[in-house]
Protein backbone atom coordinates (compact mmCIF):
# COMPACT_ATOMS: atom_id res chain seq x y z
CA UNK A 1 0.00 0.00 0.00
CA UNK A 2 1.48 3.34 -1.04
CA UNK A 3 1.54 6.28 1.35
CA UNK A 4 0.45 9.72 0.20
CA UNK A 5 4.09 10.80 0.04
CA UNK A 6 4.97 7.80 -2.11
CA UNK A 7 2.01 8.45 -4.36
CA UNK A 8 3.32 11.99 -4.93
CA UNK A 9 6.86 10.78 -5.44
CA UNK A 10 5.95 8.22 -8.08
CA UNK A 11 3.11 10.09 -9.77
CA UNK A 12 4.98 10.38 -13.09
CA UNK A 13 5.65 6.65 -13.32
CA UNK A 14 2.45 5.26 -11.82
CA UNK A 15 0.60 5.66 -15.15
CA UNK A 16 3.31 3.49 -16.73
CA UNK A 17 3.69 0.70 -14.22
CA UNK A 18 0.48 0.97 -12.21
CA UNK A 19 0.04 0.67 -8.47
CA UNK A 20 0.70 -3.06 -8.73
CA UNK A 21 4.04 -2.45 -10.43
CA UNK A 22 5.00 0.18 -7.89
CA UNK A 23 4.15 -2.18 -5.04
CA UNK A 24 6.28 -4.87 -6.69
CA UNK A 25 9.20 -2.45 -6.67
CA UNK A 26 8.43 -1.47 -3.09
CA UNK A 27 8.46 -5.06 -1.89
CA UNK A 28 11.57 -6.01 -3.89
CA UNK A 29 15.03 -6.69 -2.49
CA UNK A 30 18.03 -6.27 -4.76
CA UNK A 31 21.70 -6.77 -4.11
CA UNK A 32 24.11 -4.56 -6.02
CA UNK A 33 27.63 -5.95 -5.95
CA UNK A 34 29.90 -2.95 -6.42
CA UNK A 35 29.32 0.72 -5.55
CA UNK A 36 31.53 2.20 -8.26
CA UNK A 37 31.05 3.17 -11.90
CA UNK A 38 28.11 0.85 -12.57
CA UNK A 39 26.86 0.66 -9.00
CA UNK A 40 26.39 4.42 -8.82
CA UNK A 41 23.85 4.85 -11.61
CA UNK A 42 22.15 1.52 -10.90
CA UNK A 43 21.55 2.29 -7.25
CA UNK A 44 20.54 5.91 -7.85
CA UNK A 45 17.89 4.99 -10.39
CA UNK A 46 16.58 1.99 -8.49
CA UNK A 47 16.31 4.10 -5.35
CA UNK A 48 14.54 6.83 -7.29
CA UNK A 49 12.17 4.29 -8.83
CA UNK A 50 11.25 3.01 -5.37
CA UNK A 51 12.92 -0.39 -5.02
CA UNK A 52 12.19 -1.10 -1.38
CA UNK A 53 15.41 -2.73 -0.22
CA UNK A 54 18.83 -2.15 -1.78
CA UNK A 55 21.78 -4.07 -0.41
CA UNK A 56 25.10 -2.59 -1.53
CA UNK A 57 28.37 -4.45 -1.10
CA UNK A 58 31.82 -2.97 -1.77
CA UNK A 59 34.97 -3.02 0.38
CA UNK A 60 36.61 0.06 -1.13
CA UNK A 61 36.94 3.62 0.03
CA UNK A 62 36.38 6.62 -2.21
CA UNK A 63 39.45 7.86 -4.08
CA UNK A 64 39.73 11.01 -6.17
CA UNK A 65 40.39 8.89 -9.28
CA UNK A 66 36.89 7.39 -8.86
CA UNK A 67 35.11 10.68 -9.30
CA UNK A 68 35.09 10.83 -13.12
CA UNK A 69 32.48 8.08 -13.17
CA UNK A 70 31.32 7.07 -9.68
CA UNK A 71 28.69 9.76 -9.42
CA UNK A 72 27.39 8.73 -6.00
CA UNK A 73 30.57 10.12 -4.47
CA UNK A 74 32.07 13.61 -4.29
CA UNK A 75 35.16 15.38 -2.88
CA UNK A 76 33.83 15.46 0.71
CA UNK A 77 33.47 11.64 0.56
CA UNK A 78 37.16 10.95 -0.07
CA UNK A 79 38.44 8.07 2.12
CA UNK A 80 34.91 7.10 3.28
CA UNK A 81 33.63 3.62 2.52
CA UNK A 82 31.87 3.80 -0.83
CA UNK A 83 28.80 2.01 0.48
CA UNK A 84 28.44 4.51 3.34
CA UNK A 85 28.83 7.46 1.01
CA UNK A 86 26.30 5.77 -1.27
CA UNK A 87 23.83 5.09 1.53
CA UNK A 88 23.79 8.78 2.54
CA UNK A 89 22.95 9.89 -1.01
CA UNK A 90 20.38 7.19 -1.61
CA UNK A 91 18.59 7.74 1.70
CA UNK A 92 18.47 11.47 0.99
CA UNK A 93 17.06 10.75 -2.46
CA UNK A 94 14.39 8.39 -1.17
CA UNK A 95 13.74 8.11 2.58
CA UNK A 96 10.94 5.58 2.01
CA UNK A 97 13.28 2.73 1.07
CA UNK A 98 15.85 0.71 2.98
CA UNK A 99 19.53 0.93 2.06
CA UNK A 100 21.80 -1.72 3.52
CA UNK A 101 25.50 -0.86 3.10
CA UNK A 102 27.99 -3.72 3.50
CA UNK A 103 31.61 -2.40 3.52
CA UNK A 104 33.16 -5.81 2.82
CA UNK A 105 34.50 -7.70 -0.19
CA UNK A 106 32.16 -10.13 -1.92
CA UNK A 107 33.96 -13.44 -1.41
CA UNK A 108 33.47 -17.19 -1.04
CA UNK A 109 32.90 -16.90 2.70
CA UNK A 110 30.01 -14.44 2.49
CA UNK A 111 28.65 -14.88 -1.07
CA UNK A 112 25.70 -17.13 -0.22
CA UNK A 113 24.71 -15.03 2.77
CA UNK A 114 24.98 -11.74 0.88
CA UNK A 115 22.82 -13.00 -1.98
CA UNK A 116 20.33 -14.92 0.17
CA UNK A 117 16.72 -13.77 0.05
CA UNK A 118 17.30 -11.26 -2.72
CA UNK A 119 14.90 -11.05 -5.66
CA UNK A 120 17.63 -9.89 -8.00
CA UNK A 121 21.41 -9.61 -8.14
CA UNK A 122 23.20 -6.88 -10.05
CA UNK A 123 26.75 -7.33 -11.22
CA UNK A 124 28.45 -3.95 -10.86
CA UNK A 125 31.80 -5.56 -10.11
CA UNK A 126 35.15 -4.79 -11.71
CA UNK A 127 36.74 -8.24 -11.94
CA UNK A 128 35.78 -11.67 -13.21
CA UNK A 129 36.85 -13.63 -10.16
CA UNK A 130 34.08 -11.97 -8.16
CA UNK A 131 31.72 -12.07 -11.17
CA UNK A 132 32.09 -15.83 -11.51
CA UNK A 133 31.36 -16.19 -7.81
CA UNK A 134 28.24 -14.02 -8.11
CA UNK A 135 27.17 -16.08 -11.11
CA UNK A 136 27.64 -19.31 -9.14
CA UNK A 137 25.58 -18.01 -6.23
CA UNK A 138 22.86 -16.74 -8.58
CA UNK A 139 22.63 -20.17 -10.16
CA UNK A 140 22.69 -22.05 -6.84
CA UNK A 141 19.97 -19.86 -5.34
CA UNK A 142 17.92 -19.55 -8.56
CA UNK A 143 18.13 -15.75 -8.45
CA UNK A 144 18.18 -13.65 -11.65
CA UNK A 145 21.38 -11.72 -12.30
CA UNK A 146 21.92 -8.70 -14.53
CA UNK A 147 25.53 -8.62 -15.71
CA UNK A 148 27.26 -5.52 -17.05
CA UNK A 149 30.86 -4.51 -17.67
CA UNK A 150 32.57 -1.50 -19.22
CA UNK A 151 35.85 -0.42 -20.75
CA UNK A 152 36.71 2.79 -22.55
CA UNK A 153 33.78 3.74 -24.76
CA UNK A 154 32.38 0.20 -24.69
CA UNK A 155 30.12 -1.86 -22.50
CA UNK A 156 28.17 -5.11 -22.42
CA UNK A 157 25.06 -6.34 -20.65
CA UNK A 158 22.97 -9.46 -20.39
CA UNK A 159 20.25 -10.72 -18.08
CA UNK A 160 20.79 -14.21 -16.73
CA UNK A 161 17.86 -16.30 -15.50
CA UNK A 162 18.99 -19.56 -13.85
CA UNK A 163 17.59 -22.57 -15.68
CA UNK A 164 16.39 -20.51 -18.65
CA UNK A 165 19.35 -18.65 -20.10
CA UNK A 166 23.09 -19.20 -20.36
CA UNK A 167 24.99 -18.31 -17.21
CA UNK A 168 27.99 -16.01 -17.15
CA UNK A 169 30.37 -18.97 -17.22
CA UNK A 170 28.74 -20.20 -20.46
CA UNK A 171 29.09 -16.81 -22.08
CA UNK A 172 32.60 -15.98 -20.92
CA UNK A 173 34.38 -19.13 -19.77
CA UNK A 174 37.67 -17.23 -19.81
CA UNK A 175 38.04 -13.74 -18.32
CA UNK A 176 39.18 -10.94 -20.60
CA UNK A 177 42.45 -9.15 -20.01
CA UNK A 178 42.79 -5.57 -18.85
CA UNK A 179 40.61 -5.63 -15.78
CA UNK A 180 41.70 -2.10 -14.85
CA UNK A 181 41.35 -0.44 -18.23
CA UNK A 182 40.42 3.23 -18.56
CA UNK A 183 36.73 4.04 -18.75
CA UNK A 184 34.72 7.10 -19.64
CA UNK A 185 32.22 8.00 -16.92
CA UNK A 186 29.44 8.23 -19.48
CA UNK A 187 30.03 4.61 -20.54
CA UNK A 188 29.51 3.40 -16.97
CA UNK A 189 26.46 5.65 -16.76
CA UNK A 190 24.87 4.23 -19.90
CA UNK A 191 25.46 0.60 -18.95
CA UNK A 192 24.40 1.23 -15.35
CA UNK A 193 21.13 2.72 -16.55
CA UNK A 194 20.53 -0.19 -18.89
CA UNK A 195 21.07 -2.45 -15.88
CA UNK A 196 18.57 -0.43 -13.85
CA UNK A 197 16.06 -0.68 -16.70
CA UNK A 198 16.49 -4.45 -16.85
CA UNK A 199 16.05 -4.62 -13.09
CA UNK A 200 12.82 -2.62 -13.13
CA UNK A 201 11.33 -4.64 -16.01
CA UNK A 202 12.25 -7.87 -14.31
CA UNK A 203 10.79 -6.81 -10.96
CA UNK A 204 7.52 -5.50 -12.36
CA UNK A 205 7.35 -8.37 -14.89
CA UNK A 206 6.87 -6.17 -17.94
CA UNK A 207 8.63 -5.80 -21.27
CA UNK A 208 11.30 -7.91 -22.91
CA UNK A 209 14.50 -8.66 -21.07
CA UNK A 210 18.00 -8.82 -22.52
CA UNK A 211 18.08 -12.59 -22.14
CA UNK A 212 19.99 -14.91 -24.47
CA UNK A 213 21.74 -11.91 -26.01
CA UNK A 214 24.79 -9.89 -25.12
CA UNK A 215 23.97 -6.22 -25.63
CA UNK A 216 27.13 -4.50 -26.79
CA UNK A 217 27.35 -0.71 -26.54
CA UNK A 218 29.83 1.11 -28.75
CA UNK A 219 29.97 4.71 -27.62
CA UNK A 220 32.34 5.79 -30.36
CA UNK A 221 29.64 5.29 -32.97
CA UNK A 222 26.57 5.31 -30.71
CA UNK A 223 25.53 1.76 -31.53
CA UNK A 224 23.89 -0.92 -29.46
CA UNK A 225 24.42 -4.36 -31.04
CA UNK A 226 23.15 -7.75 -29.96
CA UNK A 227 25.24 -10.91 -29.96
CA UNK A 228 23.14 -14.09 -29.69
CA UNK A 229 24.00 -16.37 -26.78
CA UNK A 230 23.31 -20.03 -26.15
CA UNK A 231 23.84 -22.27 -23.17
CA UNK A 232 26.97 -24.37 -22.99
CA UNK A 233 25.57 -27.80 -22.21
CA UNK A 234 28.89 -28.80 -20.65
CA UNK A 235 29.13 -25.65 -18.52
CA UNK A 236 30.79 -26.24 -15.14
CA UNK A 237 28.17 -24.06 -13.42
CA UNK A 238 24.82 -24.59 -15.15
CA UNK A 239 25.47 -27.54 -17.48
CA UNK A 240 26.51 -31.15 -17.35
CA UNK A 241 30.05 -30.13 -16.34
CA UNK A 242 28.71 -28.88 -13.02
CA UNK A 243 26.70 -31.96 -12.06
CA UNK A 244 28.02 -33.76 -9.05
Amino acid sequence: MLSERERQRYIRQLPLIGEEGQERLQSASVCIAGAGGLGSPVSLYLAAAGVGHIRLIDPDRVERSNLNRQILHAEPDLFRFKVESAADKLEALNPDIRIEPLPVAFNVENASRVAFGMDLLLDALDNYEARYLLNRVAFDQGTPLVHAAVSGFHGQLTTLIPGETPCLQCIMPYPPEGEYSPVLGVTAGILGLLQALEAIKLLIREGELATNILMVWDGRCGRLDQIPLTRDLGCVVCGAGGKK
Binding site: L125, G152, M172, P228
Partner: protein, 93 residues
Protein backbone atom coordinates in the same frame (compact mmCIF):
# COMPACT_ATOMS: atom_id res chain seq x y z
CA UNK B 1 41.31 -18.41 -51.83
CA UNK B 2 37.86 -17.80 -50.35
CA UNK B 3 36.17 -14.61 -49.21
CA UNK B 4 34.86 -14.40 -45.65
CA UNK B 5 32.70 -11.59 -44.28
CA UNK B 6 33.86 -10.14 -40.98
CA UNK B 7 31.81 -8.26 -38.45
CA UNK B 8 33.59 -6.77 -35.49
CA UNK B 9 32.34 -5.09 -32.34
CA UNK B 10 33.51 -2.52 -29.82
CA UNK B 11 37.33 -2.34 -29.53
CA UNK B 12 37.74 -4.63 -32.53
CA UNK B 13 35.60 -2.26 -34.58
CA UNK B 14 38.01 0.54 -33.65
CA UNK B 15 41.00 -1.54 -34.66
CA UNK B 16 39.82 -3.33 -37.75
CA UNK B 17 36.65 -1.66 -39.01
CA UNK B 18 32.97 -2.48 -38.78
CA UNK B 19 32.18 -4.87 -41.64
CA UNK B 20 34.69 -6.01 -44.23
CA UNK B 21 35.94 -9.05 -46.12
CA UNK B 22 39.15 -11.02 -45.84
CA UNK B 23 40.59 -13.55 -48.28
CA UNK B 24 42.06 -16.74 -46.88
CA UNK B 25 43.46 -19.94 -48.32
CA UNK B 26 41.47 -23.14 -48.28
CA UNK B 27 40.87 -25.04 -46.11
CA UNK B 28 40.04 -22.02 -43.96
CA UNK B 29 39.67 -22.18 -40.20
CA UNK B 30 38.78 -19.73 -37.46
CA UNK B 31 42.49 -19.35 -36.82
CA UNK B 32 43.42 -18.48 -40.41
CA UNK B 33 40.52 -16.03 -40.64
CA UNK B 34 41.41 -14.33 -37.35
CA UNK B 35 45.04 -14.09 -38.43
CA UNK B 36 43.97 -12.36 -41.64
CA UNK B 37 41.84 -9.93 -39.62
CA UNK B 38 44.73 -9.19 -37.26
CA UNK B 39 46.97 -8.23 -40.14
CA UNK B 40 44.74 -5.29 -41.00
CA UNK B 41 46.15 -3.30 -38.10
CA UNK B 42 49.65 -2.93 -36.64
CA UNK B 43 48.42 -3.74 -33.12
CA UNK B 44 45.80 -6.12 -34.36
CA UNK B 45 47.44 -9.49 -34.02
CA UNK B 46 48.37 -9.04 -30.36
CA UNK B 47 44.79 -8.08 -29.57
CA UNK B 48 43.46 -11.26 -31.17
CA UNK B 49 46.17 -13.87 -30.66
CA UNK B 50 48.09 -15.01 -27.60
CA UNK B 51 51.87 -15.52 -27.35
CA UNK B 52 51.57 -19.03 -28.82
CA UNK B 53 49.77 -17.80 -31.95
CA UNK B 54 46.38 -19.08 -30.79
CA UNK B 55 43.17 -17.07 -30.81
CA UNK B 56 42.80 -15.54 -27.35
CA UNK B 57 40.45 -17.65 -25.28
CA UNK B 58 38.45 -14.67 -24.07
CA UNK B 59 37.49 -13.50 -27.59
CA UNK B 60 33.86 -14.26 -28.43
CA UNK B 61 33.56 -15.82 -31.90
CA UNK B 62 30.49 -16.48 -34.03
CA UNK B 63 30.06 -18.01 -37.47
CA UNK B 64 26.83 -16.99 -39.16
CA UNK B 65 25.56 -15.73 -35.78
CA UNK B 66 26.22 -19.05 -34.08
CA UNK B 67 28.63 -19.08 -31.17
CA UNK B 68 31.80 -21.17 -31.60
CA UNK B 69 33.20 -22.41 -28.30
CA UNK B 70 35.36 -25.17 -26.90
CA UNK B 71 39.03 -26.05 -26.87
CA UNK B 72 39.21 -26.88 -30.56
CA UNK B 73 37.30 -23.84 -31.77
CA UNK B 74 40.15 -22.27 -33.68
CA UNK B 75 40.29 -25.28 -35.99
CA UNK B 76 36.59 -24.89 -36.77
CA UNK B 77 36.15 -24.77 -40.57
CA UNK B 78 35.07 -21.55 -42.28
CA UNK B 79 33.48 -21.65 -45.74
CA UNK B 80 33.22 -19.18 -48.64
CA UNK B 81 30.70 -16.45 -47.79
CA UNK B 82 30.51 -17.21 -44.07
CA UNK B 83 30.19 -14.31 -41.65
CA UNK B 84 32.66 -14.44 -38.77
CA UNK B 85 31.91 -12.07 -35.89
CA UNK B 86 34.48 -11.15 -33.26
CA UNK B 87 33.96 -9.42 -29.92
CA UNK B 88 36.38 -8.76 -27.04
CA UNK B 89 34.47 -8.91 -23.72
CA UNK B 90 35.19 -6.11 -21.27
CA UNK B 91 35.85 -6.31 -17.57
CA UNK B 92 35.58 -2.97 -15.81
CA UNK B 93 32.83 -1.76 -13.54
Amino acid sequence: MIKVHIRSFARFRELFGDRFEVEVCQPATIRSVVQAVGQRNRDGLQELMDGEGKVKRSVILLINRERITGEGRENHPVAEGDEVAIYPPVAGG
